[in-house]
Symmetry: C2
Subunit: 197 residues, 2 copies
């Protein structure tokens, strides 16, 4: 009863993040049950995105243009670069509508345990962008986990040697959060980063 | 920052069962981040499955052959047909390795609330297969829910008029289950269906 092409579809769907074999089976039979156009639309959307989307050669975020819209926007300032780990983080930052500088995507975090060193990230490219004195501040917006903190510290050291100000996004209690349920490390960071009102 | 082809991929992924926009975004960015071959392999697997897999013209289960392996197997008996709602149920039944008859997939259950009547299911096709006196027993293995029970009762009535024995799979306490946590309807059915040891 095992049909090779269904098996193949299940195997491929099970490679999606957080998808096990049972969920992959559910998706596969769903895709067999819907009108053929709908299943092909999904396949075409994947192919279309992979053919047209690529990392921006300047900042590394996803784009379907030669240079991404943010890098191409003349109204944004070149004096500030926000450094993130992943293209998704650029979208998250953009949603705040608070940042008007440029971005730089590292494509990961330093992680010696997983064999990811500085050469595996776009750190050299960032340093090249900081040449020439145009960039005054680099905001390190890597993830607030061990790897992200280590990556931020590493880059801050390199920037200091270049005379560029490195800043780190604030750690603290999230808006809408609850003190009682906030972990002690976050609370300690919130205390440490307190500001005069 | 909205890139049309990424948006399209997210929209299509969000049509998968149980997948919301957030999960679809996660899948989409995963598919953008993996090597291009891997993303295209998934797309190709979907296209391949849809091009090669179709319902068996006899029983309605999925097959990539002219007639499914079960219908084509000369070692199986034509005297018993097991009626299920969905091609997935055929696979579930086959896993038991207990059934050596044929199958018939209804493609759903009667559901007047959703406008699904007898003409929307493969009930006429089942009745045609029961002509000629070869089929002695039809096992109604539709789902043990309201729609499945109603569908089984409806088909049983039609079969009785034809002189074919209709049986229903047993309801009861599942193996590995716990009496304390079994709902009262299932327990009542288990009592009702008790057998002499």
């Amino acid at each position: 009863m095992a049909i090779a092409s269904i098996e193949k579809m299940i195997t491929q769907l099970a490679r999606l993040p957080g998808v096990g074999r049972k969920t992959a089976q559910r998706y596969a039979f769903f895709l067999l049950g819907v009108p053929e156009e709908q299943a092909l639309e999904l396949a075409d959307a994947i192919i279309g995105a992979r053919k047209s989307v690529h990392p921006c050669p300047v900042c590394g975020t996803y784009t379907d243009l030669e240079k991404c819209e943010i890098c191409a926007d003349p109204k944004r300032t070149d004096a500030v670069i926000c450094v993130v780990g992943d293209p998704r983080d650029v979208m998250a930052m953009e949603k705040t509508r608070e940042f008007t500088g440029r971005y730089h995507v590292l494509n990961g975090s330093l992680s010696p345990m997983n064999g990811i060193g500085p050469a595996d990230l776009k750190i050299n490219e960032l340093m090249q962008r900081c040449e020439g004195g145009t960039v005054k501040e680099v905001i390190l917006a890597t993830n607030p986990d061990v790897e992200g903190e280590a990556t931020a510290a590493y880059i801050a050291k390199l920037l200091k040697a270049k005379g560029v100000t490195a800043t780190r996004i604030a750690h603290g209690v999230p808006i809408g959060g609850n003190l009682e349920y906030t972990d002690e490390v976050t609370l300690a960071k919130a205390l440490e980063g307190r500001r005069v009102l």
